[in-house]
Symmetry: C2
Subunit: 142 residues, 2 copies
DNA sequence: CTATCAACATACAAGATTGGTAGGTTTTTT
DNA sequence: AAAAAACCTACCAATCTTGTATGTTGATAG
């Protein structure tokens, strides 16, 4: 498994925020009701999205979260890279991994590199706007 | 991480067997020396490859392992599916996963399905022959 | 100024996965 | 009988996953 619930939940929350955006802040409680996700678990994820600037959070009554940009400005790949830490298919390609001493004559490395690009390029080609209910274009990438 | 050491080691062993095949059985000890992998750990992986019929194993002196087919008959995807159990990027797409009750209006499912196909098709397009040292074709897929 | 709402923070934990190790048994050849 | 090598089972420590529990901080309404 490449993508855990953390990344999948993050995407679903971003889509939910996009589909229900009206300028106001949306309290997490509402999202949790619609999506059926543990609120406490989501709080941690939201905190990450908030610190990264993907969403704005507001305290107190009338508070909640809202997107900080238009839905088509968010690439699924970026949201997943943030919440998953890495979306590399093998640990040797993870950002910050100490280089494998066998890398130079590793027969499989070119394959992993290509797969990594394939995955990254695809997930970067999908935006939150592409994932919204309203998005049913004929030329959809999905 | 999609592919653990188990799958990566399995691939490396298969490539090693392909590059050193001469009709004889190759003892695991030799492979371990060349690849720098824990022998005891590898034994478990070899047992899986053997049961699946990907390699032939022979006991006793002069024994060891050898490929049961030509290198171009092995798809990387098949070896990884066997050793990893699944190469689906998300648990909801794993073979045998109980269907998600939200699947029908899941906004992200089409994306995961497409990603799953992308990964599977790519890994099925690569054979052990493609990964051998001798393989340096101009039209290489890698 | 206080009650309430909601984000934000930290600690804990059960269960699964990862990446092995330890110790032995079976089969084949010499 | 001895050696080589596959094969088998059990165990283990560390990490990741998917949360729960228990708060604290900040904003707003009355």
């Amino acid at each position: 498994m490449l993508i855990s619930t953390k990344g999948r939940y993050a995407l679903r929350v971003m889509i939910d925020l996009a589909e229900h955006q009206n300028g106001d802040f949306i309290p997490l409680r509402e999202i949790v009701e619609r999506q059926g996700i543990s609120q406490k678990y989501l709080e941690g994820i939201m905190s990450q999205l908030s610190r990264a600037g993907f969403v704005d959070g507001a305290h107190g009554k009338g508070g909640g979260y809202r997107l900080s940009a238009a839905p088509d400005q968010y690439r699924a790949g970026d949201i997943l890279r943030l919440t998953e830490g890495s979306i590399a298919p093998v640990t040797c390609l993870e950002c910050g991994a100490r280089p494998c001493e066998r890398a130079d004559d590793c027969r499989t490395r070119p394959m992993w590199t290509k797969l990594d690009q394939l995955i990254g390029d695809f997930l970067d080609s999908v935006t939150i706007a592409d994932l919204m209910e309203s998005s049913h274009a004929e030329d959809s990438i999905l």
